[in-house]
């Protein structure tokens, strides 16, 4: 039965959700633009150089200039490419990355869709992103893109298993798939964060997350020195930018997931707030962003430090080390849960 009251409530909900979506999208896109700036600056200083310095003070307008440049570039499409699929691939990739934002709780009650299967949803959608990569590699009709696409699909699928298994321990401890519930469960636990009891899963997760987002040392799909750019080698202009955006958003999602599942999301462990009580007056979203940026900084740090794995070595790590370790972790976590 439709009542006036119900309609008004529905209307208010729609407005609130729209505002939330607008905020999340706007902030994320701006974040992605400045994540590139942040990356170039961080890596620049690690490599005894300055990074962007020319556009604006300390190169602050560089990301905007990059965006404008990409937007006005000619959109070249290879003659032999499968046009429709070629058009579609970056959209799939980007959309898959963006949809995940809807279930990420940035703070208590600040989540676009507070669904019960949040964690599964993230996996499912991240899995869809592979289609974007694979389709782009296939549709470009280029051998380099093809190899890049194959590598990427194999890699993302393999590491998704390891990552999924690493999070099972968290699910067991929290007893829920809802991301908000996972955070609250951590707040109520003895350690305050799951990274301490689930340290093994945490390490597996971090490694798998780097591989999942195709970052160094697992950036084989776009191995610059071998495949030049990998699956998106034939893309130009804004289609290229979509891949780029998608990659950074995926990085943001993975960092958020790490912060939520292992570092307690927007909360602080009780022992910290007990020692330093004034910290509890800081808005919770601040803690969330600090944790996310810790992960993102970690990504950059790794990129500046280590060389790249070879394809077979990458697969060996995924299947022979990470998955067995994650499985063992599940068994131990389950046993502990039963005993206690």
């Amino acid at each position: 039965m439709i009542t006036t009251e119900g309609l008004i409530n529905f209307g208010i909900n729609v407005v609130i959700i729209t505002i939330k979506i607008a905020i999340v999208l706007g902030v994320t896109l701006l974040h992605v633009a400045y994540a590139t700036y942040f990356e170039r600056k961080v890596i620049g200083h690690m490599q005894v150089r300055l990074g962007p310095m020319r556009v604006g003070p300390h190169g602050l307008l560089q990301p905007i200039a990059d965006g404008v440049k990409l937007f006005f570039k000619e959109d070249v499409i290879p003659e032999n490419a499968d046009k429709v699929v070629f058009y579609l691939a970056p959209v799939i990739f980007m959309a898959a990355a963006m949809v995940n934002l809807s279930v990420i709780p940035f703070s208590y009650n600040f989540v676009i869709a507070d669904i019960n299967i949040g964690l599964l949803f993230v996996f499912a959608i991240a899995g869809l992103g592979v289609y974007g990569i694979f389709i782009s590699g296939w549709a470009s009709n280029s051998k380099y893109a093809f190899i890049g696409g194959l590598r990427s699909s194999a890699q993302v699928i393999s590491y998704e298993i390891a990552m999924g298994l690493s999070l099972v321990g968290v699910m067991i401890m929290a007893g829920s798939l809802n991301l908000t519930d996972i955070v609250i469960a951590q707040q109520n636990s003895i350690f305050g964060i799951f990274a301490i009891p689930q340290i093994v899963a945490f390490v597996v997760f971090v490694i798998a997350a780097i591989a999942e987002t195709n970052r160094t040392p697992f950036d084989l799909p776009e191995a610059e020195s071998e495949l030049v750019a990998g699956y998106f080698v034939e893309y130009s202009s804004f289609r290229f930018a979509l891949f780029f955006l998608g990659e950074y958003i995926a990085m943001f999602i993975m960092s958020s997931l790490g912060a939520i599942c292992f570092l307690g999301g927007w909360t602080l462990p009780w022992y910290i707030t007990r020692v330093l009580p004034f910290l509890s007056y800081v808005p919770p979203v601040f803690w969330f962003l600090i944790k996310v940026y810790f992960f993102i900084f970690f990504y950059y740090w790794i990129r500046a430090t280590v060389p790249r794995y070879r394809y077979d070595q990458l697969m060996a790590i995924g299947w022979k080390i990470l998955i067995p370790v994650a499985l063992a972790n599940i068994v131990i976590t389950g046993l502990v849960k039963i005993i206690l």
Binding site: I43, Q47, I147, Q313
Partner: protein, 486 residues
């Protein structure tokens, strides 16, 4: 069923790597046959940077061909120059003075360090270690600045000369170079912190591109690429040139012959080079920097420059009695200041004259008279001045200038015969083979370029490995296509 099998046949993926590719170190083109990620076949194609340097050398005098050698291995131009100069000196039968020899040893080792730095930088970047690249370039920049200090050029230096070096080194240069040698070993440690014991680096280099000592020798490998397999062959030890027999250094060798051993060899070699530079600075003797061999080496520039510099304001005057009207000076004049008909005495438009002396050195009949400080005077005044005797030092300087001109343009008279002289450049053994017919230009010039020899071993190293190892292998044999294609 047969039909289905026919349709579902598998075949290798044929991938073209290069000539435009970030990891082929220039314009090397490799055609790879891939079975999945495994390399089934590699065919290197070279020649994209062929400029015919050997053929060009035949039409240029020995001195003129010197700058061509910069353009062969452009990342260690100094070593190429030295290789060429040492070979030509042997052909001419002259020897550079001690000081020049030490300077050449010193700059040759600087060039070795800068080459190995570039090699390490690109090799590490290919394998994915991005930071090593920039660390190496920081020190390479330092060396290039030192090169700039010594001769004004950073890459294509052309600093050594047949019979010596272009100019003496200053104390300031030696001080800053010494400072570099003090600082550099700690910088090598910095690179090694990043990759030497790095698990990923070890996984990517140990056991990759293995070549045994016997095989390496029979493929003709030289330099660190050979020494990585455990063969201690180094031209600097076995046939010392310049001052290498007066400095102490070790020849690092590997044992396994894989990419990691070759990497270690080059890292140790950089330390040895650093030591050699220090010894050279400490032992640098005083004395001349050019050999005393008239007509076989360039005449001393300082004695010549007193007259030849355009700022000297001298004028030229054509003696009508001597001039046969051959037109040589007319063609040689860049300012078109000389005019006149054939077989009649020419005249100079003094207002156009640049004082470049091209006409003066071209004239076979010595019809031109040099008049110091005569620029801007009228024809009659010049004719008057031309009757006066010319000061001694100007006559001598002009003679030297004519000699210089002939030396560069026509080349000196040299003994007939042929010879092969090898030097140790950073990449391996660089040999120059000359056939001389006694004229000022080589009858035949042939370069044994290490990069050319090393490029052929690529299929042997790559087949059976993965695509990523192809990149590691290109890096480990250290080739530059400018030298390979010549």
């Amino acid at each position: 069923m047969d039909q289905v099998e026919k349709i579902l046949e598998t075949r290798e993926l044929n991938v073209n790597m290069g000539p435009q590719h970030p990891a082929t170190h220039g314009v090397l083109r490799l055609v790879l046959d891939l079975d999945g990620e495994v390399v089934v076949n590699v065919t290197p194609y070279i020649g994209y940077l062929h400029r015919g340097i050997e053929k060009l050398g035949e039409s240029l005098s020995y001195f003129q061909a010197l700058p061509l050698t910069d353009r062969m291995d452009y990342v260690s131009a100094m070593s190429n120059n030295i290789g060429y100069v040492v070979a030509v000196e042997k052909l001419f039968g002259i020897e550079a003075p001690e000081r020049a020899k030490f300077i050449r040893t010193m700059v040759g080792e600087m060039s070795r360090i800068s080459n190995h730095l570039l090699w390490l930088a690109t090799h590490a970047l290919d394998i994915g270690a991005m930071t090593v690249f920039l660390y190496c370039f920081r020190e390479r920049e330092w060396i290039l600045e030192l090169f700039e200090k010594i001769c004004g050029a950073r890459l294509t230096v052309t600093y050594p000369r047949i019979g010596g070096v272009r100019n003496d080194v200053s104390q300031e240069f030696l001080d800053s170079l010494y400072k570099f040698t003090e600082e550099f070993p700690s910088r090598i440690l910095e690179y090694e912190t990043l990759i030497d014991q790095n698990r990923i680096w070890l996984k990517r280099t140990v056991g990759i591109g293995v070549i045994s000592a016997e095989e390496a020798v029979s493929w003709g490998l030289t330099g660190p690429t050979l020494r990585g397999s455990g063969v201690p062959y180094d031209v600097r030890k076995h046939a010392p040139y310049d001052a290498y027999d007066r400095v102490e250094f070790d020849v690092p060798v590997g044992s396994e012959g894989d990419t990691y051993d070759r990497y270690r060899c080059r890292m140790l070699e950089m330390r040895q080079s650093n030591n050699i530079i220090r010894q050279c600075i400490e032992k640098l003797p005083a004395g001349p920097i050019m050999a005393e061999a008239p007509k076989l080496v360039l005449p001393p520039k300082d004695k010549m420059m007193a007259v030849t510099h355009p700022d000297q304001k001298h004028a030229f005057f054509i003696d009508e009695k001597v001039c046969k009207g051959c037109g040589m000076c007319l063609r040689a004049c860049p300012a078109k200041a000389i005019f006149g008909e054939k077989k009649k005495p020419h005249k100079i438009k003094q207002e156009f004259c640049l004082g470049c002396m091209n006409c003066y050195v071209t004239c076979k009949f010595k019809a031109l008279k040099i008049i110091p400080g005569g620029r801007g005077l009228g024809d009659e005044q010049l004719a008057e001045l031309a009757k006066q005797p010319i000061p001694e030092e100007i006559t001598k300087a002009t003679e030297l200038l004519a000699e210089h001109f002939a030396y560069v343009k026509r080349g000196p008279r040299v003994p007939e015969g042929d010879l092969y002289v090898a030097t140790e450049v950073p990449k391996g053994e660089l040999g120059f083979y000359f056939v001389s017919d006694g004229s000022g230009k080589p009858y035949r010039m042939r370069v044994r370029a290490p990069s050319f020899v090393h490029a052929q071993v690529l299929p042997r190293l790559c087949i059976g490995h993965l695509v990523a190892d192809v990149i590691a292998n290109i890096g480990t044999i250290d080739i530059v296509l400018g030298e390979c294609d010549r």
